[in-house]
């Protein structure tokens, strides 16, 4: 009995070891084998059309979410097309969640495992530039100027630091107001045009529904700059001076405090929620009628269509306050890292910003920056037309290298004011002096 068992164990261990050796052999061979086999192909190609000798794999990191139509377009339309047009190049695309992509890039910079190309939130570009990991395109690419002029100048400005360009603009976006049509009608609330109306509407839309469940007037999924800045700016507040060198007097200014106070007041009155870990996620809460209003970007249209196809909602500008109606400018750039295969990376970057790629992505709700793509019928008829107007008045988050750090501290301060009921003026005074340090 015991012996039999022993044999079994031995056999199991042995087979596992064998399997392992087999694996070692496999994984050891793949990288050596595959290039050489493709090498031969490459050689044939060389004789025909001067393509590079070996297949070069370009690693591309992005945060198109894994189950999104954008990712579908990227992997099924754009990459095959690029590989077909540029024989000898293979794109290895990897998707990350937004915040994870940022961290992964930082970690990989430390480990020297950066990809060739990445899709970067415009707010990250200064930070990565400061780490010296982004390639200054205008210095290293001879055809940079003629090419970049095909992209919108104000979008390109997000990639400009100290007179050099470290990325190409890829797409822009901003947030506008989404509202639940039925809920507004039922409550007899008209679409809020001003921040005062918005706050009043949010309170009026809150309460219990027919099931006895709590309903909230508005929602924010987090309390970071991306979330609170539209309220602050629209109500006339600022977070830094125009040169981004000082926060005191701005971040703790009267109007900023008032805007944050408004959000805290809404939370206290059970009219605002969504940033707590246990809350209903935004899309689900909106689609099931638990959240009546929210500020969101163009991707929400496709998401709602997929998850809640029968739900009826409307969109409007961010409500205006003393400062006007200012949404927050979002968007992505595409950049290459210093360790990249520059020739290939540049080809891919130009491809991703080309009219074709931009029009394809426009079909999934990404607003193009390519001038020709912007003129196309797809874009003109797209459901995101209201966003195009909002972009004109949207403001950018401070393009400073320490933005991520500032944003973290901002989030903590906002949470303590809005959620924990801390004194807004005092907390923001303290935050402003911390941010002053970071801006130095």
């Amino acid at each position: 009995m015991k012996n039999q068992w022993a044999k079994k164990i031995l056999a199991f261990t042995l087979s596992a070891v064998l399997m392992l050796t087999a694996l070692t052999a496999c994984s050891g061979q793949t990288p050596e084998n595959s290039p050489s086999s493709e090498d031969q192909q490459g050689n044939q190609n060389t004789s025909q059309n001067n393509a590079p000798k070996e297949t070069i794999t370009l690693n591309f990191w992005h945060h198109y979410s894994a189950q999104s139509p954008e990712n579908e377009t990227l992997t099924k339309v754009l990459i095959p097309k690029f590989e077909q047009e540029n024989p000898g190049y293979k794109i290895n695309a990897t998707s990350y969640e937004w915040a994870k992509l940022h961290d992964k890039i930082l970690v990989s910079a430390n480990a020297n495992t950066l990809p060739d190309v990445a899709r970067l939130d415009i707010a990250w570009v200064p930070e990565f530039q400061k780490l010296n990991i982004l390639v200054p395109l205008d210095k290293e690419m001879s055809d940079f100027s003629p090419y970049s002029s095909s992209l919108l100048a104000n979008a390109m400005s997000t990639a400009e630091i100290g007179g050099n360009y470290y990325a190409l603009a890829l797409n822009t976006n901003t947030k506008i107001l989404f509202y639940n049509k039925a809920a507004l009608e039922q409550a007899g609330v008209s679409i809020p045009k001003t921040m005062d109306e918005f706050a009043a509407a949010a309170k009026k839309l809150s309460g219990k529904n027919s099931n006895g469940q709590q309903v909230w007037g508005c929602t924010e999924p987090a309390l970071a700059g991306w979330n609170v800045l539209p309220y602050i700016w629209s109500m006339g507040g600022e977070i830094t001076n125009n040169d981004y060198t000082k926060a005191s007097g701005y971040l703790n200014g009267e109007k900023t405090v008032k805007a944050v106070q408004m959000l805290a007041d809404l939370y206290k009155n059970k009219a605002l929620i969504g940033f707590n870990s246990g809350d209903i996620p935004m899309t689900d809460g909106f689609g099931t009628g638990r959240y009546a209003m929210l500020l969101e970007g163009p991707w929400k249209i496709a998401e709602l269509k997929g998850a809640y196809p029968d739900f009826s909602y409307g969109t409007a500008d961010v409500p205006a306050g003393e400062g006007g109606s200012h949404s927050v400018l979002g968007g992505e750039d595409i950049g290459m890292f210093s360790s990249a295969n520059k020739e290939g990376a540049w080809k891919f970057m130009k491809f991703m910003t080309s009219e074709f790629a931009q029009e394809e992505m426009a079909k999934c709700g990404l607003i193009p920056v390519n001038k020709e793509a912007l003129e196309s019928a797809t874009v003109k008829d797209a459901s995101y037309a209201p966003f195009l107007d909002a972009i004109k008045t949207a403001k950018a988050r401070p393009p400073v290298a320490k933005w991520t750090e500032i944003d973290n501290q901002l989030t903590t301060a906002m949470t303590s004011i809005i959620k924990e009921g801390a004194d807004a003026q005092k907390t923001l005074d303290q935050l402003a002096s911390q941010v002053d340090e970071l801006l130095k």
Binding site: A6, K8, L20, S27, Q67, E97, A111, D284, E303, Y308
Partner: protein, 281 residues
Amino acid sequence: MHMKKIRAAKLWIYLVLSLCGLISVLPMIYMISTSLKPNGALYEYPPHFFPNKNNLTIENYIYIFQQQKFYLNFINSLVVSLATIALAAVISTALAFCIARFRFPGRKMLFGLVIATMIIPGTALIVPQFELASFLHVTNKLWGLIPFYVAWVIPFSTFMIKGFIENIPRDFDEAVYIDGGNVFTVFRSIAVPLSGPAIASVSIFNFLTAWEEYPWALTVINDNVKRTLPIAISGFFGEHQFTQWGYVFAMSVASLIPVLIIFICFQKYFVRGLQTGGIKG
């Protein structure tokens, strides 16, 4: 009378165990039932523990099984876990055997090291280990996982197997030596076979460790196709706070099945391997 009392007591035991057992499996059942609901029904009111008849769907599973990535992630997890248990079994049995049977210089130190490294949580070493992985160029490779997992599980495995080997009578060894055997022969014909139950139970622990490991794989692996299951599952938490719980749970159920099979097959050796007093009785 007495028999009746005993029977009543047994009934109570069954009752208590069943109740506690229910709590133990309830979350699992809820996970399975949620994976059978359409994504849109997850915030329905009133919530249903079991899906309605007209709500019952396998669309989440269809989606998961249509994803080529799922199979790759699955295979990655399997490869990493099997490689980890195989390597760990061989290395720790050898270590345990030497420490239990021979006096060699540094023996005490080595065993002290085994104990000491058992104490330091693997995650605490994640920063220097990450530097090491980048130095060895094994980041973003399955090879970046296996040796680290092996190193994490060796101390516990060695500790357990050593306890078991110490209980094997030395007479067995002596008999082999008298027959002209050497250290290798004793290792092969006595230590490995007789500590089988310990190796098996330790291997189940190790399999679980590697199968479910999250922080290290999250840090080291980049490519979608190289991710292991836990990373793939957590990857469903996409952008814009939009979570498709149905997919998450369908994938979770699918990833649970192999572990369940392994455990049910091996569970009878499981308790035996932990009885370090095995042979002496």
